[in-house]
């Protein structure tokens, strides 16, 4: 019960050392798993292609079952599935992290601006946010992608961010609104600290954990959406792409091949694994930033 252990809690940890952020993070089992998975994907994306041979067309090995030479079997052109996955990782990382950067960046900027600077500018920004917020993202992304039709990671990331920022901007705004009227901000004003100081040194640290977690969920959203767009064939065909793999699994008569299961499940499994890693990572970040848990 809250009131019961308040007295006990208030002073706990008084003489404790401040454990470093990483120690707190690493102590959390989920955070550990999440970090290992995420780092694993970066290794796979950027070092994988240097050590693993590029998949080659081999018409004698069409839809081969898993073997030593092809740990995950082959596709309808006899290309190595694991190679497809590894060589497709870099592009996915690029697109999803750029998209998350754009979406989170716009969200923070608009959220803080509309929360801190009240008046006409703030109201206008919030009205725009409210409108974007109610537009179903996937539909708009699909339509924009259908017109743009480019596979350039920067452009794809831009398309994916069209609506992704709005919910986040709104959440940041409401946090900033309550923070800006808080007593510690008032005290900073009394010490005549600048708006720059108040925004970046007083307010930002308080929304950092939320921002970091939102970044991670944006990566996940961009992952689902970008692979989905390739799966639907809306974005141009490209070699080494998880979405294209899924799309090809359903076409080219592949559904009838006996070993299709592995080929079909491989990209789904890596997407799922990556997402689980990201979610677990967010648990750890929550623990590092959350002052209530940091104390322990």
């Amino acid at each position: 019960m809250n009131s019961q252990d308040k007295g006990v809690e208030k002073k706990s940890g008084q003489k404790s050392q401040n454990p470093s952020s990483f120690t707190v993070f690493w102590r959390n089992k989920y955070a550990r798993i999440g970090l290992i998975i995420t780092v694993g994907f970066f290794v796979m994306g950027f070092i994988g292609p240097l050590v693993y041979p590029a998949p080659k067309i081999d018409l004698t090995e069409i839809f081969a079952p898993p073997s030593l030479a092809h740990p995950l079997g082959t596709d309808y052109l006899g290309r190595d599935t694991l190679g497809d996955i590894i060589y497709g990782t870099g592009y996915i990382l690029e697109v999803t992290f750029i998209a998350a950067l754009i979406g989170t960046g716009i969200g923070v900027a608009i959220g803080i601006a509309s929360g801190y600077f009240r008046g006409a500018v703030g109201s206008l920004l919030m009205a725009i946010t409210d409108i974007v917020l109610t537009i179903p993202g996937m539909i708009l992304i699909l339509v924009v992608a259908s017109v743009v039709r480019s596979g350039n990671p920067l452009i794809v990331a831009g398309v994916l961010s069209v609506t992704a920022w709005a919910g986040f901007a709104r959440a940041i705004r409401s946090q900033i609104l309550s923070l800006r009227s808080s007593i510690f901000v008032e005290e900073a004003r009394l010490l005549n600290l600048s708006s720059f100081h108040i925004i970046f040194k007083e307010l930002m640290p308080n929304v950092m954990s939320y921002t970091a977690i939102n970044f991670i969920f944006s990566v996940q959203g961009a992952l689902f959406a970008s692979v989905g767009l390739y799966f639907l064939g809306v974005l141009p065909f490209s070699a080494y792409n998880w979405g294209v793999m899924l799309s090809e699994a359903t076409s080219f008569g592949g559904f009838l091949a006996p070993s299709l299961a592995v080929y079909l499940i491989s990209p789904i499994a890596v997407i799922t694994l990556f997402t689980v890693g990201l979610i677990y990572l967010s648990f750890g970040i929550d623990e590092v930033f959350n002052p209530r848990t940091r104390r322990r």
Partner: protein
């Protein structure tokens, strides 16, 4: 017999990631019928935990390690099962918890709170419930017409507190426990609540345990006082006796830290130092490090809680000397 409640050697521990901490250390006290007992303690003294252990309501990671809580006509509450405790709660002992600002269900109106509470103990006659609610709300100076259909967010802090006091009286329990009933309120509402409680006590003869960090609230309200420090009972006795002839150095220091309207300002001062680290193992008296009477024995042996004068208990190796010098 006049004895209503007797608490013996209650010990409550909390398990945390950094080890066990003791929130309440073998505390004993008693309440006679018609008593108003003030339990006074600063933050970290374990006063709320003590109140909840009286109700056998300590949630993990907290645990009642030992002790007994005997209520007249019920027996040892700490030996009862969960369902038996539930039946005692509110009918025999009611508690108005501390954080009253959030103690009511935000999606239920005041009327529903009365209906739910009384139905839980077998009173299902809506007409009777409403009659009771009307009567008690008037008793706490609220307009039942308006308040009964109000939701918690429509009530001010003081009004919520009064609704909860009214709610605590529906079965006229033998004992009413109030956990910091005024600390969230402004001065005006504080006085209103205190006057209200005094009137209710006179009218209904209900026994009250009043928990507070503010020793000044006790004077003129309670007839007995229990003083806690770091989870330990330091002193228990008649309010005036404790005030005028305290037997415990902590009580003496606490009273000395309250400025008065006419006394010499140089004769009052705060207590230096701070509450001991709850994680540190305490050998001896928990107050020893801040106590100006402290001798080597104080750091080695925890003093027992003993009766030095009839009804006047203290935990200090030197209570007898202090009593002789003061008295």
């Amino acid at each position: 017999m006049n004895l209503l409640l007797s608490v013996e050697g209650v010990r409550v521990n909390y398990r945390t990631e950094r080890g066990e901490i003791t929130a309440v250390r073998n505390v004993s006290f008693y309440v006679d019928k018609g008593d108003i007992l003030g339990i006074v303690g600063e933050s970290g003294s374990g006063k709320s935990t003590l109140a909840y252990s009286v109700l056998n309501y300590i949630k993990p990671p907290g645990k009642i390690i030992s002790g007994s809580v005997k209520l007249e006509g019920v027996g040892d509450l700490l030996k009862l099962g969960k369902e038996d405790v539930r039946k005692v709660l509110w009918k025999e002992i009611a508690i108005v918890p501390q954080a009253t600002q959030n103690s009511m269900n935000p999606t239920m109106d005041v009327k529903d709170h009365f209906i739910d509470t009384m139905a839980a103990h077998g009173q299902n006659d809506k007409q009777k419930i409403l009659e009771t609610a009307n009567r008690l709300l008037e008793e706490v100076k609220l307009d039942p017409q308006i308040v009964l259909s109000a939701y918690p967010h429509q009530l001010s802090g003081g009004m919520k507190q009064r609704v909860l006091i009214a709610l605590s009286l529906v079965f006229e329990p033998k004992l009413l426990i109030l956990d910091e009933p005024t600390s969230a309120l402004d001065v005006v509402n504080q006085r209103l609540i205190m006057d209200l409680l005094k009137a209710l006590h006179q009218k209904m003869g209900i026994s009250i345990i009043f928990i507070t960090h503010d020793i000044q609230l006790i004077k003129g309200f309670a007839n007995k006082v229990l003083i806690l420090y770091a989870g330990k009972a330091m002193e228990l006795g008649d309010v005036n006796e404790v005030w005028n002839t305290p037997l415990n150095p902590y009580t003496i220091a606490l009273l000395k830290s309250i400025p008065t309207l006419h006394g010499d300002v140089n004769s009052v001062s705060g207590i230096p130092g701070s509450m001991p680290d709850p994680y540190a193992e305490i050998t001896g008296c928990p107050f020893a490090s801040r106590c100006k009477f402290a001798k080597p024995v104080c750091f080695e042996k925890d003093p027992d809680f003993l009766e030095y004068k009839p009804g006047h208990f203290s935990a200090c190796h030197f209570s007898k000397d202090i009593g002789d010098n003061y008295g």
